[in-house]
Subunit: 446 residues, 2 copies
Amino acid sequence: MDLTNLHWLSASDAARLIRDGVVGSAELVQACLARVRETDAQVQAWAFLDPDHALAQARAADELRLSGQPVGPLHGVPVGIKDIIDTADMPTENGSVLCAGRTPSRDASVVAMLRAAGAVIMGKTVTTEFAVRAPGKTRNPHNPAHTPGGSSSGSAAAVATGMVPVALGSQTGGSTIRPASFCGVYGLKPTHGLVPRHGMFRLSRTLDHVGLFARSIEDLALLMELVVGYDERDPDSRPRARVPYRDVAAEEPPLPPMFAFVRTARWDGVDADAKEAFAELTGHLGERVETLELSDAAEEASEWHRVIMEAEMAANLSREWETGRARLSESLCARLERGRDVRALDYLRALTRIPELHASFAELFAQRYDAIVTPTAAGTAPEGLGSTGDPAFCTLWTLCGMPALSVPLMRGANGLPLGVQLVGPRHGDARLLRTARWLVTHVASM
Amino acid sequence: MDLTNLHWLSASDAARLIRDGVVGSAELVQACLARVRETDAQVQAWAFLDPDHALAQARAADELRLSGQPVGPLHGVPVGIKDIIDTADMPTENGSVLCAGRTPSRDASVVAMLRAAGAVIMGKTVTTEFAVRAPGKTRNPHNPAHTPGGSSSGSAAAVATGMVPVALGSQTGGSTIRPASFCGVYGLKPTHGLVPRHGMFRLSRTLDHVGLFARSIEDLALLMELVVGYDERDPDSRPRARVPYRDVAAEEPPLPPMFAFVRTARWDGVDADAKEAFAELTGHLGERVETLELSDAAEEASEWHRVIMEAEMAANLSREWETGRARLSESLCARLERGRDVRALDYLRALTRIPELHASFAELFAQRYDAIVTPTAAGTAPEGLGSTGDPAFCTLWTLCGMPALSVPLMRGANGLPLGVQLVGPRHGDARLLRTARWLVTHVASM
């Protein structure tokens, strides 16, 4: 075992090696901590990281295994948690000075689920202010002059640099897909309601999703098996039969998948190198891909998304706005002010569009396509740290609550990574992972 | 069998006699139609009633039974349906000239459920305009100079006069409890989401409930067994285990129930004779009742109810407002205009109160009380047909989605009926019926 590269182990491999006694959790966590020391001065992925506490969890995991007790599917594996997701043993500051020193007394549902699976909670990763736009300190691991994307900046960057094999983030606009694309890792926004959000900062009930970051599809499938579940404290969670995500993701599709290439009305604004990369990809796919024009309704979705998000965030941040406005960023204040003026009539109208839109996509998937292929962003990570980029290519899929996946398949002319976004039908998460695996294998064989 | 009084049979008795071949459905429906001819010129309970069509359904029911095929629990029994609930074989006009001649192509879920149980859909009962305030033509069956209450005016009046044994209505404010109280019948607003609303005019997703009218608790329990069920087309419907409502309602409570008498902040406005009637009732109950003061939060609920109802009705009636405003009542226009101005912020804040309120009541029920006893209205049906009365005593329970029942236990100084409202915890519908039966028996033995 080459201990100098332990930090590049996938979560699935690490869990297997730990279970088999080949690697200790403490060894793995120490390797990841060494990687943090090596890279984080530049990347700045962490809002909170106490090496001793991480190591203490790892040692306890090793002791438990040595005692002969059964271990969970993520036993001893370190995970990064976006700093809007509550942890009982670490601060959760939501990327805002208004929450400085906030120490929740309970774990969020997803954190409790990961701990139950044996995970070591490595630390809290940097988020933009309240998971909206104002950037945190994180830099793109491939070029520190570029944004890592946001709002789940730290989670994407930490996974990309090998500081943790997997991490949790969130997505309300494009907060998982965009940083995954910019940092060159896999990012999955599962179907709305599938992963419970209890204990995660609530920006928008209608749009908030827990997001997952990993360096392999197998790891995303493993995470899905752990964090999908019913929680009555999330009003959009429903009891559902268990899905064997790993088995489905690993299967060969019975037929080669069929893709719909959706350029969207924003295609003119896509960078030339990104356009070329898509031309190459669709060229590879040949008759397995068709270009699909969206309906006008779908093209208007970003406006409905804006109305819903701004109205709900104004309600959810009303206490902060009323008592701490001076300590919010200007950009957040401006959005909250707009949100406070939204009429209930417009908000409710926007909500009624969701099932309509969703039905039209459901039909497309049922009749012809396994997945939509579409840009994650207008191009690679923009230069500068003043903005985390534009979520415009993600909002439609977030609004519809459909599963979306960024696959690190492309590179820009500047050498920075660029993800391809795959979108599937609601509750088609496992098959979307299977389709993505087919695509990655297919492209690799070109 | 005294055929002259068939129309006073309960639905449960009628179903039994029809199943056993003692009475024919056609005989029963003819008796009810005779009762309509006798009383409806004055009461005016029906928006649509085609005697031939009702009789044709009854004859088909008789033929089916004679053919030896199994029959449902409401086989051959006539039911009145509020004219905001779609029927595929009769018009559904929502109490508005804007919907004159509207003929839906499908039955609402609840109508389909009743037909599957063998019911004869007698006709459509009068509603106020879009189930809001502007009265229909129905008069109080006990005194035609008085309102029957609303918005389910026709359903309450038709059951009270023996034109049908049972009927469906709805409640968004107090539209089941109030007319049941004013007409002297039982009215049940079940737990929110329990009875699917697909195919019923949507005024407010958050507040709309299907309501049930009957002349006995046994009949309400029978109806509940038929109309409670999961329907994915109602966004608030959830799959749930079947409850044997009739068995539970018929059981003797293991301990005599404990009541909380809630006078509410509106007690000062309650009529003197109603206050006396409550004093007598609580006197009878002795140590089985305690007076309970509501929290300030509960007293503010009518304002939250107003914000939610007006915002949602403005969205749901926006097409009517935009294209047919001149043909809406002035009072409805005024409410829609207010609703169109509600801010999403205030609407969303009001929504967050519901689970908070509900939690505080859930605790009260879990710790000490079987049911809340509270007024249905400030007194008996007011004189005049220009208003259907004030729903203020119902809105809190509607907002919380808790089951509420009007029990025809009292009479005013003017001889008109007055119901007592019993309220139970969410999903405690069957036990609430059991508690009501105990109360009725207990009071009768005084």
